[in-house]
C-alpha cells in the first residue's frame, strides 16, 4: 500500500494531479445542479409575481 501511494517517488505529483482533476469534476456537477435549482426558484417567483399583477 505504501509503495502504491509512493508511486516510485512521484506520489506528490501524481496524487495532487488526480485530486485537482476529480475536485474539478465534483465542483462542476455541484455548481450545475445549484444553477438549475436557482433558476427554478427564480422562475417560480417570476410566475407568482405575474399572478399577483
Amino acid at each position: 500500500m505504501r509503495e502504491f501511494l509512493d508511486m516510485n517517488g512521484y506520489g506528490t505529483y501524481v496524487w495532487s494531479a488526480y485530486g485537482i482533476a476529480i475536485g474539478g469534476l465534483v465542483l462542476s456537477v455541484y455548481l450545475a445542479r445549484r444553477q438549475l435549482r436557482l433558476a427554478r426558484d427564480e422562475a417560480r417567483r417570476r410566475l407568482a409575481m405575474q399572478e399577483v399583477s
Partner: protein, 250 residues
C-alpha cells in the same frame, strides 16, 4: 429527409424535458466509468520505462485537455447556429458550455504544470502548446465575463456568441502547435495516423477516462442548459405545468 426532429429541439419545452430525461443517464454512466478508469490508470497500467509512475498523470491530463478543446468547439458551433438561425435554445447550450470548459482547461493546465516539474524541470514554459491552451482559458473566462457584464439577455447572447465564434481559431492552433513549432510538449500519443503509440494495457484506461469525461461534460452541459432555458422563459403554460409537477413531487 425529415427535419421535424431538428425543429423540435429548438422548442424550449421539448428541449427542457428531453435534457431532463437524458442528463441523469449521462451522469450515471460518467460516474460508473470514472472509478474504472482511475483504477486502470493508477493500478493496472504498467509503470512507464522512461517516465516511471509520473506518466500516470496522462490519465487526467489528456482527457481534460481534449475536453477543453472539444467543449470550445461545441460552444462555438452552438453559438454559430444560434446566430445564423436565431435559435434561442442554442444560445442556452453555448452559455451552458463555458463553465465546464473553463474547468477542463484550468485542470488541463494545472495537471500539465504538475507533470512538467519532474519531467521538464519546470512548472511553466512559454511553449506554443501551453500558450495556445492558456488562450482557450482566456476565451472561456472572457465569454463568461462578457455575459455577466451585459444586462439585456438578447444582447448578451449575441455579443458572447460572436466572441465564441471568433475564438474558435484557437482550436486548430492548440491541436497543431506541437507539429508547427518546436515544442517541449510531446506529440500525440493516442490519435496518430499509424495507431496509438502505447500498448493496450496503457491505452484502455485512457479511453475509459476520455469516455467518462465526455459523459460528465454532456451531463453538466444539459443541466446548465436547462437552467438557461428557464431563465429565458417569460411565463408560458408549460413552465407553470412543469414547476407544479415538480412542486408536487418534492
Amino acid at each position: 429527409m425529415n427535419w421535424v426532429w431538428f425543429h423540435r429541439f429548438g422548442s424550449p419545452p421539448y428541449f427542457y424535458r428531453m435534457a431532463g430525461r437524458w442528463a441523469p443517464w449521462f451522469l450515471a454512466l460518467a460516474a460508473l466509468l470514472l472509478p474504472v478508469g482511475l483504477y486502470g490508470g493508477l493500478a493496472v497500467a504498467p509503470t512507464d520505462y522512461y517516465q516511471s509512475d509520473v506518466f500516470r498523470i496522462i490519465y487526467v491530463h489528456v482527457p481534460t485537455a481534449y475536453l477543453s478543446v472539444m467543449t470550445y468547439t461545441w460552444m462555438a458551433l452552438a453559438a454559430a447556429v444560434a446566430l445564423i438561425w436565431r435559435i434561442k435554445v442554442c444560445h442556452a447550450i453555448a452559455a451552458a458550455c463555458a463553465p465546464a470548459g473553463a474547468m477542463f482547461t484550468a485542470v488541463a493546465l494545472a495537471t500539465g504544470m504538475i507533470w512538467g516539474q519532474p519531467t521538464w524541470g519546470t512548472y511553466w514554459a512559454w511553449d506554443p502548446r501551453i500558450i495556445s491552451e492558456l488562450f482557450v482559458l482566456f476565451f472561456f473566462l472572457g465569454y463568461i465575463a462578457l455575459r455577466g457584464a451585459i444586462e439585456d439577455r438578447d444582447r448578451a447572447d449575441r455579443s458572447s456568441a460572436v466572441l465564441a465564434v471568433v475564438g474558435v481559431v484557437n482550436v486548430p492552433i492548440v491541436h497543431y502547435s506541437v507539429d508547427w513549432w518546436n515544442s517541449l510538449h510531446q506529440g500525440p500519443t493516442l490519435m496518430r495516423a499509424d495507431g496509438p503509440a502505447m500498448p493496450m494495457s496503457m491505452a484502455w484506461p485512457l479511453l475509459v477516462m476520455l469516455a467518462s469525461y465526455t459523459f460528465f461534460f454532456v451531463a453538466i452541459m444539459l443541466m446548465r442548459a436547462r437552467a438557461e432555458v428557464l431563465r429565458r422563459e417569460r411565463g408560458g403554460a408549460w413552465l407553470r405545468e412543469e414547476l407544479a409537477r415538480l412542486g408536487a413531487a418534492t
